[in-house]
Structures are given as structure tokens and as C-alpha cells.
Amino acid sequence: MVRVLKLELRGITKRFGTLIANDHIDVVVESGQIHCLLGENGAGKSTLMNVLYGLYEPSEGEILVDDKPVSFRGPGDAMAAGIGMVHQHFMLVPVFTVAENVALGAEPTKAAGFLNLDETRRRIREISDQYGFDVDPDALVEDLPVGVQQRVEIIKALVRNASVLILDEPTAVLTPQETDELLDIMRQLKAGGTSIVFISHKLREVKAVSDTITVIRRGKVVGTADPAASTTELASMMVGRAVSLTLDKEPATPQETTFEVRDLTVIAPNGQHMVDGLSFDIARGEILAVAGVQGNGQTELTEAILGLQDRVSGSVTLDGKELLGRSVKDVLGAGVGFVPEDRKVDGLVGTFSVAENLVLDLYDKPPYAKGISMSPAKIMENAKARIGEFDVRTPSAAAAAGTLSGGNQQKVVMARELSRPLRLFIASQPTRGVDVGSIEFLHRRIVAERDQGTPVMIVSTELDEVMELADRIAVLYKGKLVGIVPAGTGRDVLGLMMAGIAPGEHTASPSTGTQPAATADTEGGDHA
């Protein structure tokens, strides 16, 4: 059933106006291989795949399937040629069942045009059994965990007889366990003869499954790498200069505890307890990282501290003063620096200039304003200083913040929040969608803030980031604290905690025993 398919992209160039997104890219995907495209955000990986999938027409170059040139006018052509794609954001109808979603677009019919889902169900069960997907064709998609939804996407492609599967940043939305399961599925698909194009910037995963790695930087192929190469080598290729992945930070020297959270509960409008009786402390000069799969109360926790949540009970004190019940302005005024989780939604006003965004929460304080009169000169002066200090790549301080790249937008938010004396620093997803080079820089700044004696709280769904930065790690699951563990706790322990299993509960299972001192296994040795 699986067709042998060799896929070749030859000299693909894709221009958008004057911008060259792909510059003469050559990639050959051999049959039954996992071929990884490694590159930073914005390197041109997704553009290349959209060309391959028929969503974009290449400016130059050609696509060859089994050495014959083809031209795809749209995804339909690509699918017909045996290419399937799983997008980073799933293309599923939440209120449809798995079978309905899979059938959508190529609905099998009985006589008189009636839908025939039985055939689709049969195919889903067949594929599900073959690869151990464990997907019920009649489950509603909205009821399924993200990892299973992703499998539905893969089934969609397989039902259409895809023999090349493109996975665009598939692990971004998964827990570590789900990620491992996905990597297993990829290996099985490969064994079944399906070739996979795996797009990622996560080095550990890339090393774990790839047969071939093609590194793309600024729209060009900079070379191929051996999966056995070290993560540092891969990262350097990806960024174009030497990067140190392991943050050489001094051990924390915690001082007195100035930030205390007691029995914090946040209730959503629907009555659900989004944060449920949380208690923890952060000492000065210490980083507490809050880990957890997205949507387990992290957003509500940080917003409650800042004063953005309404139905809040418990107590949050900073320097002995209660923060709950005060306005956002008061909380910020008490010395809280806050980097919200989604810079585009909460952190920046996209149509405002970089300079204005750099004073978004300081605009009415001297020297930027006297009374209600603002001083554009002072705001500009501040902007120039911050842009220099944080190496924000922007055409000018007057450019609209929305036109900057994600990493530079994040630097703007970070620069603003770190530009005043702080008593507490909270950063949610400080490096989401930020390129590796900027991540390194932002991490250093966070550690520098800690070393100045500020209590720091980092909320991240990226386990690598948590392990990198944390002095202690708190894990949230369904709004409750699963536990607080020291830095250096093993990835597998943290993964189980993120699934709600407290440390100690799982010791009976031999395969998931605690690994003592498994510090920052960015080398991904377990998966090799």
C-alpha cells in the first residue's frame, strides 16, 4: 500500500517582494527516512514546506517526485502525490467526531449521496491498531487531549495514503511524555515505510529521531548534520555563531523571603477553580520556575498576582504588603516587573512605536511625564538606551513594535520591565517563539536580575527552559501545586508531575524511577 517516494526540492527560491525567504534550497528526502529541517524561527522552514505542500508557488526551482518534476497548484495536488502535512495549529473541527474530521474534504458516500462514515471508521481503526494510536473514531475532537488530536491529524494524512508526512513543529504543544510518544510514532511510521519531514528547532528531539538533519539559516541551507553531533554543534550551525546552551549561572544564594503566596485561589466565571489553594514563597536572589502543561492555571496565577483577576481569594504579600485587591498600577508601583505570556496580546501595543512601548507602564512617571504632559524627548532618550542595552533589532525607535520579529518584540517587553528597580520579577513564557540567540541573552538577563537580589518567578511550559533557569521548580496541574522540587530533578520525574503524579507516588514503577542528579540533560542522552 505504501508507495515508494523520493522527494527532492531543487534550487527552491521563494521571494516575498524584496525579501528572500528561501534562497536556492536543495533538500532530498529519501524514502523511509526521518529528515529534519532544523532552523530558528523565521529561518524559512515553514515557507519551504508550504512550497512543497502547494500553498506557495516557488519563485524559482522545482519539486521532483521520484525524479520527475511536478508542480503543485494547491494542497490537493500535493495530497494526490502522496504528501501529507500536519500543521503546527491543527486544522480540525472541534465539534466533529474523529471520523467526521478525517472524512472531511474527501467524504465517502453511499448511494444517493449519503455519507458513509463506516468505511472511514474502519480505516481509522486499522491505522490506529497498526501504529498503536489508540484513537476512537467516534470521540469528539474537542474532548481529546492535544496529543491525541495530533494523532488524528496524522491519521488524516495516512488515510489519504500519504507516503511523505510533513510535521511542522509538532512538539510545541505537547507534554514531555506526549512528545516521547510522538517520537515513537514517528519511528513506527518510518518502519512502515513512510518518510517524514520533521520541522523543529528543539535540538533534543531532532537528535532523537532524525536520520538526516538539514540546517537552514536565513533562508539558506547551511549544511547537513549528523544526528550524532552534539547539541552545541547543532545550535551553532543553526544560529551561525557559537552559542552556549548551558547557562553558566552561579548557584543561587537565597536571602530573606520577601514574596509569599498563601492559599491563593482563582475562580473562573464558570465556577471552575483555575488556581486552587496555592501556597509558595520566593526568596530574594532565587528563581522559582513554575512548570506545567499549558492551561493548568499558570495564566490565572500570574494574572491574579498582578491584579488582573476578579474572583481571587487567599493572600499574596510582597515585602510584607498585601498585593491582592489592589489595582494593576499599584502592584506595578510596588516594584513588580511583569512579562506577560503573550507579548502580542498583553505585552505590546503593536501600532505604537518601540519607544512608546518601552514606557507602556511608565508613561505617566517622571521623567517621561510632568503632570499630564509627556516628554517625547525623554521617551526617545530612554528608547535609544534600552535598544542599545538589549540589542533590539529595529529600524528605529519610532518603528511600530508590531513590525519587529518575535525575539525583538520580546526584548522590548523585557527591556521595559527590567529597566526599573524591582522587588519581584515575574516572567511568563519569557522566550516563547524567540530564536536561540535571543533566548541565551534573555536568560542571562533574568539570571542577572536574580543576582541583584530580586525574587524571580518564571512560568514556562518549556521544560528545557525551566530546568535551565530554575533554582527550585514548582509544578502545576489543574490549578493545584503537585510539588516543589529542587533544580536538577530529572526530566522524567518532572514529566510525571506535569501529568499530576506527585514525586514518590510513582516509585513503584521501575521504568520511571527518579534519576539522581540528572542535571539539565539537554544532550538528550536517554533518547540516543
Partner: protein, 451 residues
């Protein structure tokens, strides 16, 4: 095996198809809209930043000034054709259109230009005037009519910059008119103080009426469009009720008309008694400067703009969104209130139920045409004032109905609301041509490959 792939030219591309294909690809990109090139840092990584309350409306209100100018031009051209279509000479020449098309075209041209010249003479400069004063009289009339349009337009524009659709200028003008007129005819105060009190009363009337909308929105989440529309009705019927009470009725009259305002309560005529132009226009200029300063140089305006552009980010940065909503609606109401004062204390000098005319609604168009910038609104107010002032002269001189001006105004709104239409008409639209070329080049490529 996959199906036989579509034949395409092999590796050696001919030089002439290459650039064409590039254009085609770019066109596919722009036409394809939904797919963002992830290698473009600006679009892919930052993505679309969430705009204000409604992105389409936001674009319409704050789009480029060029589209405004072109929209006015286009509306005038179509208005000219409409004028010509009702012209007797045009009708006559059309009967022998195919015999002598030049006659017909000349008649069309004449009809349109005659009307527009009359419009110009009625609104800016009348060369047949005996004195310089008479020659420039139309321009002062334009400024007089523009005054309430400008101030109410500023109110709409300011609210819009804070993300609020203030449809309530009409009601705000009426409430301001009621208070200002009452202070003007019922109280007996010394010169200077009386006018000041009229002004303050009017501004407060508008500000309270606008501020209430802001308060209701901030406290209950009610939508300001519904609120302002309903508040317009309340104000209008309240005014009609008052004009039938003894307190507001002119003594000895049963008509719904108030006493004439005291001489101490009306705006001085700034160019002397022969022109209607009054102090209100100077205040309109001052208001424009003030709104510019407020928006661009004050912390309050910074808050308004931040709330308008991204309320979530504004809130996270500690800006009190509720307070900004109430405040901006109050200031917007106060600006509309200036229009009410200009009407009762400047132009009309009495209070009738037609005190606001349609200024409150025209103000929305003015703000729209002015792209919600203070000076843009000022210019748009002048233009609409000129239309209004000139229309009368146009009807007298050429018999062209006044309503044609309303048609032109409406066309302007239509074109501003559809920038792609304007760009297409003036050939500025890159999207129109290229998809066609893309298809052509694609065809060329495939056939070329087969050959």
C-alpha cells in the same frame, strides 16, 4: 506510484519567464492572504497584532489620507455624472448621440462643471461680488457651517482613537444646546460672564451625556453604539418635551421655539455684523489644537490610544481601562457640546428641535474622512461645510438639487469604506492585475514545458 505529474519546464529556465514567475508568486502570496510567509520576520513572527475592537472598522477609520483624497475626487466625478444625467441639454443632445457624440459629451461636461463652479462660488469665492467682503462672504459661510461639524467630528474621532464608536454626537449636541440655551435666555448676567457660563453649561451638558455612556459601558459592559443611539433618541424627545413647557417656550407662542438668547449670551461675530461667522470657529480651531495635544503629548491621550489599540496590553500595563472609557466619552461629549453652543449661541440664537440639524451624524462622516486625526477632521469639516454652504448657491444658479451634495457625501463614505475600490479605480491596487498575470504565466509555464 503517484499520478503523472504535470509537465513543467526543466531546470534551465528561460530568462523571460523567470521574472514573470516571481511576480506571479508574489501575487499568489498577496492574494492568498491567509498564509503568512514564516520567513518574513515582520509578519510571521509577530503575526497580526490584535487591533482595537473591530479591525475592519479600525482600518476604515485610520487608513491612509491618500484614500480620503481620492475618495472625495471619485465622489465628485460620479456626482458630476449624476448632475449631468438630470440636465436638459444633456437629455437633448443624447437623442442624436450617435450622430454627434461631441455635443453630448460637451453637454455633460458643461452641466457638471457649471454646477461645481456654482458650488465653489457659493462656498469659497464669488467673483460677482461688488466688494471684497461680498466676494469672500461665501467662505465665511463655509466656516460658520463647518464649526459644529469640526467640533462634533473631533468628539467622534477622539472616542474612536480610544476604540469607541461614538454615534452619540447628535444627542450630545442636543443636551449641550438645551443647557446653553437655557442659561442664555433665562439668566440675566453681566457681559462676558454670561457667555462664559453658556459655554461651560453647554460643554457640561455634552460631557455628562457622553460620560454617562462611558460609565454604563465601563460598569455594565453595554455596547456604546447601542447606548449612544438610544441616548440620541432620549435627548431629542426630551428637547421636544421641554420646548412644549412654559420654561422653554417663547412667551405668547405655542410653537416649540425658545426665547431668543440674551445679547450678552451669544458669541461675538468675529468679522463684524455683516457675516454670521462667530467666535465658535475660533474655539473650533482651539479645540483641534487641544485634541492634537491631548492625543499626542499627554498621558491621558497615551492611555486613550493604548486602550484603543490594545486594551488587554493597556490593562496589563496598569492603565485603568474603565476610567479611560468614561473620560474619553466625557471629553468627546464636551467637544460635541461645543457644537451645541455654536448652534444656539452662534448661528441660530434660539433653541428649536432642529438645533442639531444632522450635524451629529455628519460628524461621524467627518471623522471618518479625517481618518480620526485632529487636523484631518478639521479639514474634512471644512470640506463638508463648503458642500453645505455651496449647495444653496448651486441650486439657485443651476437648478441642481441640493440633495446632490448629500449624494456626494454618501459616495465619499462609500469609497472610504472600500479602499480597494478606490485603489482599483485609480490603478493603485497591486492585487487586481497580478492574479490575472499569475494565471497567464502559469499557463505559459505549463504549455511551455509541454512543448
Amino acid at each position: 506510484m503517484p499520478e503523472n505529474p504535470k509537465p513543467q519546464h526543466a531546470a534551465g529556465e528561460t530568462p523571460e519567464t523567470a521574472p514573470e514567475q516571481t511576480a506571479a508568486a508574489a501575487a499568489v502570496d498577496t492574494a492568498g492572504g491567509a498564509m503568512e510567509p514564516s520567513a518574513v520576520p515582520a509578519t510571521a513572527q509577530s503575526g497580526q497584532l490584535p487591533g482595537g475592537p473591530d479591525t475592519v472598522l479600525r482600518k476604515i477609520f485610520t487608513g491612509s489620507g491618500m484614500v480620503s483624497v481620492l475618495a472625495v475626487l471619485l465622489a465628485l466625478v460620479i456626482g458630476g455624472l449624476l448632475i449631468a444625467s438630470t440636465d436638459k441639454q444633456v437629455a437633448a443632445t443624447s437623442t442624436y448621440l450617435f450622430a454627434r457624440p461631441a455635443d453630448f459629451l460637451a453637454a455633460v461636461w458643461n452641466a457638471a462643471t457649471r454646477s461645481y463652479i456654482a458650488l465653489f462660488q457659493g462656498s469659497v469665492f464669488n467673483p460677482r461680488g461688488n466688494t471684497a467682503a461680498a466676494q469672500f462672504a461665501p467662505f465665511t459661510e463655509t466656516l460658520t457651517i463647518a464649526t459644529p461639524l469640526i467640533t462634533a467630528g473631533l468628539g467622534v474621532a477622539l472616542a474612536f482613537r480610544a476604540g469607541l464608536f461614538n454615534i452619540g454626537a447628535q444627542g450630545q449636541i442636543i443636551m449641550a444646546g438645551i443647557l446653553a440655551a437655557w442659561v442664555g435666555f433665562a439668566l440675566d448676567l453681566p457681559l462676558g460672564l454670561h457667555l462664559l457660563l453658556v459655554l461651560v453649561a453647554g460643554i457640561i451638558g455634552g460631557a455628562v451625556w457622553g460620560g454617562l455612556v462611558g460609565l454604563l459601558k465601563a460598569r455594565t459592559g453595554a455596547h456604546e453604539v447601542i447606548l449612544t443611539i438610544m441616548f440620541n433618541y432620549i435627548a431629542l424627545y426630551f428637547l421636544r418635551y421641554l420646548l412644549n413647557t412654559p420654561a422653554f417656550q417663547r412667551p405668547g407662542e405655542t410653537n416649540p421655539i425658545s426665547p431668543i438668547l440674551e445679547a450678552s449670551a451669544v458669541y461675538p461675530q468675529i468679522l463684524g455684523g455683516q457675516f454670521r461667522l462667530h467666535l465658535g470657529f475660533v474655539l473650533a480651531i482651539a479645540a483641534t489644537v487641544l485634541v492634537w495635544w491631548l492625543l499626542n503629548r499627554s498621558t491621558v491621550g497615551f492611555e486613550f490610544r493604548a486602550v484603543g489599540a490594545n486594551p488587554k496590553a493597556a490593562q496589563t500595563a496598569g492603565i485603568n481601562v474603565s476610567r479611560a472609557t468614561i473620560l474619553v466619552m466625557a471629553i468627546a461629549g464636551g467637544l460635541a457640546g461645543l457644537s451645541g453652543v455654536a448652534q444656539v449661541a452662534g448661528t441660530e440664537k434660539v433653541l428649536t428641535d432642529g438645533v442639531a440639524a444632522t450635524y451629529g451624524f455628519d460628524a461621524i462622516t467627518v471623522a471618518l474622512l479625517g481618518r480620526s486625526t485632529p487636523w484631518g477632521t478639521f479639514a474634512a469639516g471644512l470640506l463638508f461645510g463648503a458642500f453645505r454652504a455651496g449647495a444653496v448657491q448651486m441650486q439657485i444658479q443651476t437648478g441642481t438639487p441640493i440633495d446632490i451634495v448629500l449624494v456626494v457625501q454618501s459616495l465619499i463614505v462609500l469609497f472610504i469604506a472600500a479602499p480597494p475600490l478606490v485603489r482599483a479605480v485609480f490603478g493603485l491596487n497591486p492585487r487586481r492585475k497580478k492574479p490575472a498575470r499569475a494565471a497567464k504565466s502559469r499557463r505559459a509555464a505549463t504549455t511551455g514545458g509541454a512543448a
